[in-house]
């Protein structure tokens, strides 16, 4: 069965420090992995995705994520956090074997960047 785990409900980091939001997944076939961000009263906004190729994926707003097949992880990272990065972050996976193309989401991690 497909599943995504985000083990941290909240991540706190000081502005200017690096941040990491963790995500692990489980799928039957090869994974297609995504990160979305959600600001208050807004829909999910796409940040980045991994389909194939380089394990380090760069996305919007300076975010990047590293695909690690052996650890089945896809952690979101940013070298220097901004207060405006404070939001809810969702990791999602799509199984290449799933013909519906639906996304399976993690429970979300709230990122709080303090000034």
């Amino acid at each position: 069965a497909q599943s995504v785990a985000q083990p941290e409900d909240q991540v706190n980091v000081a502005e200017g420090n690096p941040l990491t939001v963790k995500c692990t997944y489980s799928v039957s076939g090869n994974p297609y992995l995504f990160w979305y961000v959600q600001y208050p009263n807004r829909g999910l906004q796409f940040l980045l995705k991994y389909i194939t190729g380089d394990n380090l994926v760069k996305g919007s707003y300076g975010f990047e994520a590293e695909f690690n097949k052996s650890q089945t992880s896809f952690h979101l990272k940013k070298p220097s956090a901004l207060v405006s990065d404070s939001a809810l972050y969702f990791c999602a996976v799509r199984d290449e074997m799933d013909s519906s193309y639906k996304l399976i989401f993690g429970s979300g991690t709230r990122l709080l960047v303090r000034p």
Binding site: D9, Y36, G43, K49, K102, F105, G108
Partner: protein, 117 residues
Amino acid sequence: GAGVSQSPRYKVAKRGRDVALRCDSISGHVTLYWYRQTLGQGSEVLTYSQSDAQRDKSGRPSGRFSAERPEKSVSTLKIQRTEQGDSAVYLCASATRIRSRGSYEQYFGPGTRLTVT
């Protein structure tokens, strides 16, 4: 339109009543998904439909949830006999294949927050 829109943005319903939530997707997009988002529990797909038919491929939970596609770019999620556990944010996503990028992408609406009292 520029993106996916949903209405209403907020809905309060008494337990046992039926509700209908609307999604206006992006013109030309083939597939439309309905997800239910519960804080701390993530999101689960409820149903999805493809424009070649008004098929409702129901996910979990089944039975009380159904989707209709009266027009190719409009979907209505119907929830029958609402329960308090149905209180959540309902997200609509419009999807299409981007051939130039070889990818399949979903675009999300802002969601409808349903509160069942």
